[in-house]
């Protein structure tokens, strides 16, 4: 009765087929990230010692020791335990910051797309400003004025990369509104909140998620950089960058203190980047 016979819409590749197409390197990246995530979540159960417990008899023990697989630091604290707690804190900060900046940026992008005019110009100007200033310098300036605290650190890094989400969200929302489903739904009488949250957001979510995987490694690098400089996470709390920073002083006598967190940073950012690149190529080739 209908024109079903003419149904020739191309079928989407199934999810199973997509799984098979994952290259081995990306698989490795996914496995590594899963392991890191597991360690971060169950840090308390996995860590063999308390990360602050000193053991003055076993100072600067080399890796491979029966009690301390990754050795100990200058105070005899277990490097593995410190590493595990550092992973948790660094990931927590990076996740928190990425989520904050994605929400903040998307919201500003939507506001720009909805109001246009002055609001849009203001958002674009701020985005240009943010993109043209090295973020590390801005962050250092804020830390100089306020001193470092965990909340400030997460909030500060939550400002990192917002301009990318804002530009993407604005561009996609405007094109959705100019023609197509968004204007169709507006035309049905839906209030703007519903148009943006129920319709536009799910439609651009994949692009935003890809951008998040591209920003995430940069956030980890930023946090570890600040902590390395001694201006990020403050002792007794520890983070990956913080461990490298303090381990640097023992680079000649005990390079493992610094190498362990350094390799976790590199492997993690590398994995997220590989995953992000692959996701971008698969889901959204329009992103640069």
């Amino acid at each position: 009765m209908t024109d079903r016979a003419l149904d020739n819409a191309p079928a989407r590749p199934g999810h199973l087929a997509a799984l098979k197409a994952i290259p081995p390197l990306v698989w490795v990246a996914i496995l590594w990230l899963a392991a890191v995530l597991f360690v971060a979540i169950f840090a308390d159960l996995v860590a063999p010692y308390s990360y602050t417990a000193p053991n003055l008899r076993n100072r600067l023990v080399a890796p491979g020791h029966a009690l301390h697989w990754l050795g100990t630091d200058e105070l005899g604290r277990d490097v593995l335990s410190r590493l595990i707690v550092s992973i948790r804190i660094s990931l927590l900060i990076a996740f928190g910051a990425t989520v904050i900046s994605a929400c903040f940026g998307t919201a500003l992008g939507f506001l720009a797309a909805y109001f246009r005019g002055l609001v849009e110009q203001a958002v674009l100007m701020l985005a240009d400003f943010q993109a043209s200033m090295p973020f590390l310098i801005l962050a250092l300036a804020v830390l100089a004025f306020f001193g470092s605290s965990l909340v400030l650190l997460v909030g500060l890094m939550g400002l990192f990369g917002w301009e990318r989400y804002a530009r993407i969200a604005r561009g996609l929302a405007i094109s959705a509104g100019a023609q197509g489903y968004a204007s169709a739904v507006t035309q049905l009488g839906a209030p703007p909140t519903q148009v943006y949250l129920r319709h536009i957001l799910p439609n651009i979510a994949s692009t935003l998620i890809v951008s998040m995987t591209l920003v995430f490694p940069e956030v980890i690098l930023l946090e570890s950089g600040l902590s390395f400089l001694g201006l990020g996470v403050q002792p007794p709390m520890t983070s990956l960058g913080n461990m490298v920073g303090f381990g640097r002083e023992y680079i000649t006598r005990a390079p493992w203190i610094m190498l362990a967190p350094a390799s976790v940073i590199v492997l993690t950012t590398l994995s997220v980047s590989l995953l992000g690149d692959w996701l971008r190529d698969r889901l959204d080739p329009t992103l640069q």
Binding site: T2, L6, Y181, A184, L188, G189, A190
Partner: protein, 329 residues
């Protein structure tokens, strides 16, 4: 006379167009003084080439765009301002069908949810009932139940347009504006969708504004037809009359270009540049392409006047039908 549901008076809309880095912005009049009225159960067809301003006209009639001049009255009241709560509430009574049904549907929502959405937005019926209503409407536009859980990209073009239609009709609107509703579809499917539109219009006593560049489709749907050229109506009248005996040279050219079974007419080919609203010719806008243009046409814009049989024409030569017929032959 039946009171009209929608009445538009002297609608005009300009867009600013900027040329080059130093160019001043030029106001382009997309629609230039158009008046129309549509009653319940009646269809007004609007024919014109691309760039004639017919889509802008449709959007103004729906209140999606505010006219620079003139006003739209719907059911005796002024059209509320775009985006206000009253405007949103009024959406339940007037709906639009788009040219590109795939673009008009949300790729990420199942068909059923999208058809149900107008009821959710306007809080009609109990939430539990809305799904049943949506399924019933899908059946009414000829879509079987098993398509309800599908997504837009899994449907054919014709099916998608039926979904758009079902969604538009959920709140039982009084006015439907169709902007090129079938021109993106295969010819074989166009007829099905057009027939469905005509049936539903009769059943629901819809007032309809049917915009298309395709004469045959407009003729099939509309009782009355208006021909638009560069933002103005140039001829308006009863559909059968108008197509059988076009008075405006532009309408004549359009009609002669469309094959009509039975009638054997001499084909008039339009010459010259297609209309560009940014460079509107002086006098009658059609004169550079008109085979009959006189010096008067170049200098003076013709006013719309009523000739016999309720036909309205904006052409200096149409005042003297005999003269026109002689020249055309």
């Amino acid at each position: 006379m039946i009171p009209s549901l929608v009445e538009a008076k002297g609608l005009a809309r300009s867009y600013a167009q900027r040329r080059g880095l130093f160019g001043r912005s030029v106001a382009v009049r997309a629609v230039d003084g158009v008046s129309l009225r549509v009653s319940a159960g009646e269809t007004l067809g609007i024919v014109g080439e691309s760039g004639s301003g017919k889509s802008t006209l449709g959007r103004m009639v729906l209140g999606l765009e505010a006219p620079d001049e003139g006003a739209v009255r719907f059911d005796g009241a002024d059209m509320p301002k775009f985006g206000t709560v009253e405007w949103r509430r009024a959406r339940a009574r007037m709906q639009m069908i788009f040219q590109d049904p795939l673009g008009a549907l949300d790729r990420r929502l199942a068909i059923l949810d999208q058809v149900r959405e107008p009821l959710d937005i306007h809080r009609r019926h109990e939430p539990a009932e809305r799904t049943d209503k949506a399924l019933a409407m899908l059946a009414r536009v000829g879509l079987s139940r098993h398509l309800a859980a599908r997504y837009p990209h899994e449907l054919s073009g014709g099916q998608r347009q039926r979904v758009v239609l079902a969604r538009a009709l959920m709140t039982e609107p009084a006015l439907l504006v169709c902007d090129e509703p079938v021109s993106a579809l295969d010819v074989s499917i166009q007829a099905q969708v057009v027939n469905l539109l005509v049936d539903l219009q009769e059943e629901m006593r819809l007032a309809m504004l049917f915009i298309s560049h395709d004469l045959r489709v407009v003729r099939q749907v509309s009782r009355r037809v208006a021909v638009m050229y560069l933002g103005r109506f140039v001829e308006e009248g009863d559909a059968d009359d108008l197509f059988a005996d076009p008075r405006h040279p532009y309408t004549q050219a359009l009609v002669s270009a469309a094959p009509t079974p039975g009638a054997r007419q001499k084909r008039i080919t339009l010459t010259g540049e297609p209309p560009n609203p940014a460079e509107r010719p002086s006098g009658c806008a059609f004169h550079p392409r008109c085979p009959l243009a006189t010096s008067r046409c170049r200098a003076e814009a013709p006013a719309m006047r009523t000739v016999e049989g309720g036909r309205r024409v904006a052409c200096h030569l149409a005042e003297d039908p005999a003269h026109l017929a002689r020249k055309a032959a």
